[in-house]
Amino acid sequence: MRRLSARLVLLATLAAMPGLVQSAPAPVTAPKPTPPAPSAASARQAYFGEMHLHTTMSFDAWTGGTKTMPDTAYRFAKGEAVTINGVQARRAWPLDFMAVTDHSEFMGALSELDRTGSLFSQTVVGKQMLALGRRAFELSPNQKREMPELADAAAASRAWEVQVKAANDHYQPGRFTTFIAYEWTAGGKTPGAHLHRNVFFNGDHAPVPFTSADSNRPEDLWTYLENVRKQGIGVIAVSHNANLSNGQVFDWYMSDGKPMDRIYAQRRALNEPLFEIVQNKGSSDTRPELSPNDEFANFEIVERLYKDQTKAATHGSFVREAFGRGMVVESKVGANPFKFGLIGASDFHNGLSTSRENAFAGTGIDPDTMLPKGEAAKRTLGMGPKAPLRPTGQPEDDPVTHSSAGLTGVWAEANSRPSIFAALQRKETFATSGERIRVRMFGGWNFDPKLMASKDWVATAYATGVPMGSDLPAAAKAKAPRFAVWAMKDPDGANLDRIQIIKLSLEGDGYKERVFDVALSGNRKVNPKTGKTSAVGNTVDLKTGTYANSIGASQLATVWQDPEFNPAKPAVYYARVLEIPTPRWSTLLALRNNLPFRDSVPATIQERAWSSPIWFKPQG
C-alpha cells in the first residue's frame, strides 16, 4: 500500500510537468475537460501573520525592558523602519496580518512609568517597580492585587483604548489586517503553569478585557465570549504552550475536577477553534516519549520544570495526544472538546515580531540591538550565570531551549478582517515554525490519483472534497478516504524534505498514532519494511552558518489514500511538512559572537509546517 502511495507521488510529479502558468489570464493551449466553476474558495490565498505579541503594555514585557508601544509594533510588522533605542530596525518581509496580544492583567500599568510626569511614577509603588526592574516579573498575582496603585496606573494608561486605536489605525484592508486582541493570563493548579488564552475580536470595537482576576477558569472566559457574541461581535480564544501546562491544557477534567461533560466539550470546541502549536517557548505537537516511532518528534522541546519536579509532565500537554483524547472523550460524551485547527506565533515580549532564525529576538533581547550581543548574547544562549529559582520554587528555563518565532498561515479570499477571521473560525489555517511554507490539505472520497497534475486541482478539491479544518463528509460506500496535500517552500527559505500525514485513530479507550511519509523530495522511496525513508541530507556548513538548496524540493504534492482505514473507527489526519536542515538560531548567534555551541540543543533543525486536521467519524 505504501509503495502505491510513493508511486502516486511520482506519478503526480511526472504528470504535473507540462503546463503554462502565468499571473495574467491564460491563453488556451489545448482543449481541456471543463473544470469546475471557480468559486471564491478556490481563489483563496495564503496570508501569513502574527497572532501573539507583547508590547510594553504587558506587565512582564515592561519588566523585560521593552519600550515598544502597540503602534510601533504594528508599524514594524508592516515593514516600516522603526527606531528602537536609537537603532533602526526593519522586518525582513512585511507580515500580512497581526494582532497585538498584551496581557489583560494590569495592562499598561508599568508603561505609565515611562510617561513623563505620570501619576504612577510619583507613587511609592511606582518607584518600587522602577527599582525592581526585571525582578518585578516575579510578583505573584496576589501581590499585584494588593497594590491598588497598579490598578490605578492601568486605568490611567487607558491601555484598552490605546490597543483598540492602534489596531484600527493600522488596519488597511487588502494590505494589512489587524485584530483587536489580548491575552487572558490564567494560571493552573500548579503555580506558574500556563492556562493562558489569547482572545481575538472581529470588529473595530470590543468590550474591555476579561482578566484572570475576574476568573481563572476557562469556562468563565467562555461565558464572557458567548456574551460578547450576543452583542454581535465575533470573538474566539486560542490556547498556547500546552507544553508548559504541566498536563493541564489537555486534561481529561473540567475546572471543578469532574470529568468533561458534553456541554463542556461543545463549549470548548466552539470557543476555542484553534491552538497555537509553536512559538518562542517551544512546540506543542508531541515529544519523543509520546511518539516513539516519530523520528522528527524531538523538535524545539522546552523542558520547563515546576516546583520540586525533576521531569516535565508529558501527558495532557501536547496536541497530538489531544487529538487522540478528543476522540476518546467524544466516544463517551458525544462531543469532541479538542477539535481545533493549528496556528503559530512568536509570543515575543519586545513588540517586534520577527520570524527568521537569524533575526531571533526572543524574550531576552538586548533592547539596544535587534540581536543580542556581548553579555546579552551569552545570556540568551544560556551561558550566563544561572538564574535563581522563581519565588514559586520553579527553576528558569534554559534560555537556549527557547525557539525562534512561529507563524500563522490562513487560506482566505482577501487580506481583510472578515475574510481572515472567517478562515480562523473554519480552521482553514496552518502553523509554521517561522518559515512561509504554504501547505494545503483536502480530504475526500473520490479524488483522482492524478489530481495534482491538473492546473485546476484546487478548484476540484474544493468542489469534491473538504479543506483542512473540516469533517470528512459521509462516504457513499465503504472505502478509504483520500487526501490531496501540497506544499511550497518559503520563497526566501530552505527547500522541502517531505510531506507527512499523521493519523490518529480511536482504539478502545485510547488511540493509535501513525506517521506516513506521503511526498518525498529527490528520488527517495519509503522502505516498505520499516515504513521509514532515508534522511534528506544536510548541507549546513557549521563554520559559516550557511546551507544550500542543492537538496530538497521547492514544491511537493500528492494524493494519498489511507492504507489502514477502518470505516468503523473515528480518525484524525493532519499534514506535517519538513524543510531540509538549516542552522538553528543558537548556532547563528554563537557564530556571530564567537561563542561555542551548546550541546543541549541541536546545531541544525528541520523547520516545519503543520496543517489543521481533517476529522473522520463513522456514521450512525
Binding site: 501619576l119 496603585e149 468590550p207 452583542q231 520563497p491 524540493a553
Partner: protein
C-alpha cells in the same frame, strides 16, 4: 409687616426698647437665622445623607455591562449599589479627614483630568475639502503608489532536473519566444499564489521572495520576453504586458487617510497650543536651573 407692627407696639415700653437695642439679642437672632437656614440647606445637602438616584443605579448597571458584556442579575445590581454606597461613605469620611490633601495620586489624577478636559475642548474641527486637498498637496510623498504591472511568466523548476538544467530549459524557451511572444512554449506548473493579476514590486516580492525576479520585473520592457531570472522557487521568463505608473494616488482614493492624518496633526498641534495657553497663566520660576547653571559655570 405684622412683625413690624408688633415691634412698634412693643417699642412703647422703654425696657423693651433697651432690650431691643441689646447687641446680644442681635447676635442671637442672627444665629437663629443662620441655624434655620443651615438646617434647611442640610435637609437638601446633608453630608450624612447618601442618596442613590435612579440615574446613579443606571450608571452602575451600564458600567457593569460595558465590562462584562452582559446585564447584571438583580442580586448583582444589589451588590453593585451596596458597593457604591460604601465607596461614597468612605469617600466622604476621607474628605472629612483631609485625606485628599497632599496626596500624589489625587494631585496627579486631578491634573490628568484637567489635561483630558483641555484636550477634549480642543478637538479640531472637521477639515473642509479645501483644507484636505491642501494637506494632500503638501504631503504627496505619503500618498505615493507603486508602479503596477500585468505580466505573464514561465517557470522552470529545478526540482526535477536540477539548477543548471532548469536554467538551460528557460534559455531555450526564451530563444523560441524571441521571434513570437505568443509562441506555444510551456514551463513547469506554478501555483496561483498571487491575489491579483496587476502587481506592484512589493507584491511580487511577497510572492516570489526577495530575489532577482521581482527586482527585474520593475524594470522589464513591455511586450518582450526577458530572463531567465531567479525567484525563490526556480527560474522564470517574464513578459510584462502593460505597466501602470504609480505616481501619487488620486485624492479621491486616499481621502479617508488624508482626513485621518490631517486630524491627527491638527489634534497634536491643538494639544500643544492648549498646554501653552495653560502655562501662559502662570509665572514659572526655575530656581533649580539657576543653581544648576551656576554650578556648571
Amino acid at each position: 409687616m405684622r412683625i413690624g407692627s408688633q415691634l412698634r407696639t412693643l417699642s412703647a415700653s422703654p425696657t423693651l426698647r433697651r432690650f431691643l437695642a441689646e447687641p446680644l439679642l442681635h447676635f442671637a437672632v442672627l444665629a437663629l437665622a443662620i441655624f434655620l437656614a443651615n438646617s434647611a440647606w442640610r435637609e437638601a445637602h446633608d453630608g450624612r445623607r447618601i442618596v442613590v438616584t435612579a440615574a446613579d443605579a443606571e450608571g452602575l448597571v451600564r458600567k457593569y455591562q460595558t465590562q462584562f458584556g452582559v446585564a447584571p442579575t438583580p442580586a448583582q445590581v444589589k451588590a453593585l449599589v451596596q458597593a457604591h454606597i460604601e465607596e461614597e461613605a468612605l469617600f466622604r469620611e476621607g474628605l472629612a479627614l483631609g485625606l485628599d490633601k497632599g496626596d500624589e495620586i489625587v494631585r496627579r489624577r486631578v491634573a490628568q483630568k484637567a489635561e483630558f478636559l483641555q484636550q477634549d475642548l480642543s478637538v479640531p474641527p472637521e477639515p473642509s475639502e479645501a483644507a484636505l486637498k491642501a494637506y494632500y498637496d503638501a504631503h504627496h510623498a505619503a500618498y505615493a503608489a507603486e508602479d503596477r504591472m500585468a505580466f505573464r511568466h514561465l517557470f522552470f523548476s529545478p526540482d526535477l532536473d536540477g539548477e543548471a538544467a532548469a536554467r538551460q530549459r528557460a534559455e531555450s524557451a526564451l530563444a523560441r519566444l524571441a521571434g513570437d511572444p505568443e509562441a506555444l512554449v510551456t514551463g513547469d506548473p506554478f501555483p496561483d499564489i498571487s491575489p491579483s493579476a496587476l502587481s506592484g514590486v512589493s507584491e511580487a516580492v511577497r510572492v516570489f521572495g526577495d530575489s532577482e525576479l521581482p527586482r527585474k520585473l520593475g524594470a522589464a520592457p513591455v511586450g518582450r520576453w526577458v530572463g531567465p531570472f531567479r525567484s525563490g522557487y526556480g527560474w522564470h521568463l517574464v513578459l510584462v504586458r502593460s505597466r501602470q505608473a504609480g505616481g501619487v494616488r488620486p485624492f479621491t482614493t486616499v481621502r479617508e487617510q488624508v482626513r485621518a492624518d490631517a486630524l491627527r496633526d491638527a489634534q497634536n498641534r491643538a494639544n500643544a497650543r492648549s498646554m501653552a495657553k495653560v502655562l501662559s497663566r502662570y509665572v514659572i520660576v526655575r530656581d533649580d536651573e539657576g543653581d544648576a547653571m551656576g554650578a556648571r559655570r
